[in-house]
Symmetry: C3
Subunit: 463 residues, 3 copies
């Protein structure tokens, strides 16, 4: 008995299930291509041992935190913030006691997969099994086989991208490259020096100047600093940038207007409108740079961060209180697209948390603009139902070739195989349904399955 | 032969259907917990005989009215308003002649259930069967067995909540409590004294003052009057309040600003913006009161009422011309949530008619804020497809425990068993699909089914 | 072996599939009623031979163009615009080489259907089969059997509506009527003389005046000109108007205000707000005219046309760069509906590209206003998944009778049988699922299937 059924997530109809199984057999053990994620570069550079089960599987996982908090568990009970429970075993027990809350959620699939496939634990987590699971995980984490680089090999990862501040020195990437055969590449994420509302924006610009030797007090120097930093990232293997913006708004101002806007923004006196306009302009500037240096752009827009002000003040970001907002891409992207959207050198991958935009906006946009690709279902939609809806809503208008393959997009290293496993299963199930409803020939499904599993990610991200 | 197939609404796959059947067998005859609805308190206080079939099943049912009107039947033909047809049998025949319009709608399921299970009528309604059905219903309604209290017993109702104006004296509830063993409880619905745009708002405030002995010309006295009225409702068994607002906007003004706003509102000179702000502020005030007195809050937001002005003027509210509007919860609820959203004494149940908000806003919000729960699919979405979409869209992010069980939300007493039957079937079908796609173990499905059928409603509403 | 499986698009469950098959057998060869489309009237008036395969199947099909462009094919390679490839065979080869892009899209279903059923080509299109397919099609197009009128007969078309400018002289319709037995009727599309932002609006008004003899410099004369033109269309068989507006906004100004607005609009000095208000007012004016002359109104709202400015400038409209926008109907339609929405002579068919509005707005509106009907899934949603979602989202609130049957809505004559085939299959599949989940009796499904296939279109459009 295992926590994982071999036919999980497959269609229930026997004919369709058999096709899904056959398709999945061709991709189940294929390499993991992970072009976008948030693993800690230190893991790859220093290859440290992980800590205890709670600090590995509970405390850093915002999906887990938010569900426990939603049912009245406090952050302190989870060992976080003021009055934090210091004993990781007690934190683990609190988690295990509430494991039933995850029924029907992707967290449950990922956690069961990690317990079962990574740690060999085959009893469902519960108050009764909590201590045994804790002991087994804790013991495993003390072994060499559970250090990051060993897990990279074991998981069959071919390449993994991290997401890194424009101000990062990439020392960990250098260490990983120099001391190891794994392929860990950075991604240029310039939010801290692009978003006037980012904490410490002015100081960040100073630091950007210091790092690059550019005069970041001028628009021209500021742009040049971005170019230089992008070049450093490319030198360390980067193939992509990532932009986390409140909205997808873009702008294409005359350069004199952009320079004047930069002066206002740089002076720290800009309005909220100016801040939004500056972010918008910078997306277009980065698109132009991408035409030159070949970095693939990713745009993650549409999240209200830190909805709970008190929690943010007490214990900071990424604690589960980020909430999606309504998406709007058609007018928002028009300036950028009309500026550089027909340039064959540009590739821009769009992500959304507003599924309404799949069929209404994103598939129609990506189904015609040659630079655009649709990123896979993001965050709350990185799930069985979310992935199914994505394929059902996007495929008829955008096809498969305008999608960008799968991103695990996670800081939870142990969930990476689980996430790719879920995506591959859901995609094979979808293809099988196309076959049994005679919307696709079987040979075509076999051609598409490896594309969705790894081929598109490799191609779209230039890996 | 019956109008109802025993496997209705179950999945068609034999394995899945068998599991759904087994799950449903455990809840089919479980007590009905009805924490939110609109039955007439007089029925419970006075236990009157119902009138004729038309006045029971056609004229008060806005779902039925709207469908008939949409295909050209006039209100007058249905016995409503100017020139109303006086003969209920003729109204019934008009209804029966158009019964085909309800194919594929929840009304059809509810009506067939009432005809078949409540009245023992097993021929589909049609022009040919109209008179026989009329006669059978009419005869039944003259018997003691079809009075409200007898139906309460027959339907297996454990508790039923009505929805009552803050100005209501609850005499019918008192009569029911004193003269009968059924549990009928009121719900505090203060719209008439909270919404400055409600008909007779100023007079309503005066009456609120007269009832409570508070000075409702002052902000402090006004709030105190609410507290006293809530206490009276609690004394009669209430466990919840209900708020029907055009939007979900909340506010958390400084008390001095709130008092100044109240003065403007009280003076009858407030703008539409002030009215919206006052409603917003009052949601937060009621949330604070709920922390004190324990009443569970319900928010029903997002309806454009009385879209047809002429029909509203001629025959009033609730005639079928209410239309959903776009929902927006993330910014709207932030003030209230940041004020009291982490208070363990608060519980706030959210309802929407904009299904786009399930996955984008409501499940993410309820999946982290401990005070929030998701109400079941409301009104137009109280249906097979609506309930399925709700589970598919909300479960992966909010789980089951952050949902509030089922509300029949009806003034149509005879449809109550049908509505709970539909909800239980759809939920068991959903659980069965989770099992056969191996997203949930079978024992877990059996643990969840009774929670969805009655357990969550009892727990979330403190019943 | 054929490109088309006889069970395509049917449910995979054997019981449900058998019912779907039986239902489909009753409508498969039923006449095609095509109440809204864009075939070229010249085809019917002059019955010309079609050109080569590329100019018939590739170049005019904006679905095909957009997918090819999205993957980097240029318009020039497709024989369009500056530097256009002159050899249609080379264009065809480019298309065939990219045929895999259409996997999972409705274009694939339509194209396979045309190749297989119309041309008898049974090998999947690919670089290897491109030339043989080209030759077969090219040869066929030179025969009498592939002229428009012969195809009309072969396809079993009972009636087909074109869409025609208010300024069109309908000479081709007259020629078709006088020289042939087919029923080809025009549709009054007044955008060019209603939308102040339409190219050449002022000149168009002058021409409208010249054609009708009305003084289109005055509001009264302008309205009268519309009445006269509508009468001419009716005389040529028209039963409907069609309105392509950026939004669904309507207005019901006092006539003096409308006249003043017309003066501003006519003078060419109107603002964007005035332009929108004028379009809004004209929807209500046309609704009033429809009450008088009986033309059914169609409203196609919510498209951002020509998102790519450079492509628009270089090669014009309808090249694939139209993108849907967010829909909003509730407030927008209120003025028109409150003016004439209860008039039994009015019928207004609503189309949307924002599927969110199906369940939230359109089904609730059409489920009560007697003048309203829901048009079938439009454009990007004229597809398997799109049609399924439409039925799943709209039926429970609007029923079947408030929908308007199927529109092929195409300028691609050869795809007409394919499109009706898809719609009939999807609808039969949906009905079969209602039957096996016991939401509908089997005899009722057999009553509904022909309504959806042709009955409703005939009735709703007064054909």
């Amino acid at each position: 008995m295992t926590l994982l059924h071999p036919d999980r997530l497959f269609p229930v109809d026997p004919t369709t299930r058999a096709i899904a199984r056959s398709l999945f057999a061709t991709v189940e053990t294929a390499p993991i291509v992970s072009p976008h994620g948030h693993t800690d570069p230190r893991w790859w550079g220093e290859n440290p041992a992980f800590g205890d089960p709670a600090s590995l599987l509970v405390q850093p996982d915002h999906y887990v935190l938010r569900m426990l908090v939603s049912q009245g568990v406090t952050y302190a009970e989870l060992g976080i913030g003021p009055g934090a429970e210091p004993d990781p075993r007690k934190v683990w027990r609190t988690f295990a006691a509430q494991y039933h809350l995850f029924r029907g959620t992707p967290s449950r699939l990922w956690l069961d997969h990690a317990l079962s496939e990574v740690f060999g634990i085959h009893a469902r987590l519960s108050p009764e099994t909590a201590d045994a699971a804790y002991d087994a995980i804790d013991a495993a984490l003390k072994t060499e086989a559970f250090r990051p680089r060993a897990l990279y090999e074991r998981f069959g990862i071919e390449v993994i991208a991290t997401t890194d501040s424009a101000l990062d020195d990439l020392a960990q990437h250098r260490a990983a490259r120099d001391g190891w055969t794994g392929r860990v590449i950075p991604t240029y994420r310039p939010d801290a020096v692009v978003d006037p509302e980012f904490e410490g924006f002015a100081a960040n610009l100073d630091r950007l100047g210091a790092i690059t030797g550019c005069d970041t007090a001028t628009w021209a120097g500021y742009l040049e600093a971005h170019r230089l930093r992008r070049a450093c990232f490319i030198e360390m293997g980067a193939t992509a940038t990532d932009h986390g913006h409140p909205t997808a708004r873009t702008a294409d101002l005359a350069q004199s207007d952009a320079a004047a806007l930069f002066d206002r923004v740089r002076g720290g006196t800009c309005s909220a409108d100016d801040a939004e306009l500056f972010r918008a302009q910078m997306l277009t500037e980065h698109a132009r740079m991408s035409c030159e240096d070949g970095l693939v752009m990713q745009l993650h827009a549409g999240v209200h961060r830190n909805h709970n002000t008190a929690v943010f003040r007490a214990i900071g970001r990424d604690r589960g209180f980020d909430i999606p907002t309504q998406g709007a891409f058609v007018d928002a992207l028009k300036p950028l697209l009309n500026a550089v959207g027909m340039d064959p050198r540009l590739r821009l991958i769009l992500f959304t948390l507003d599924e309404d935009t799949y069929a209404r906006e994103l598939a129609p946009l990506a189904g015609v603009w040659p630079c655009l690709r649709l990123g896979p279902p993001w965050w709350f939609h990185d799930s069985f139902e979310g992935m199914r809806r994505f394929r059902q809503l996007a495929t008829e208008t955008a096809g498969f070739a305008n999608t960008a393959g799968f991103n695990d997009d996670t800081r939870a290293l142990l969930s990476i195989p689980a996430r790719h496993d879920v995506a591959r299963r859901v995609d094979c199930a979808f293809l099988a349904e196309l076959v049994t409803s005679h919307r696709l020939d079987e040979d075509e499904a076999f051609a598409i399955a490896p594309q969705l599993a790894h081929g598109l990610a490799r191609a779209v991200y230039n890996l």
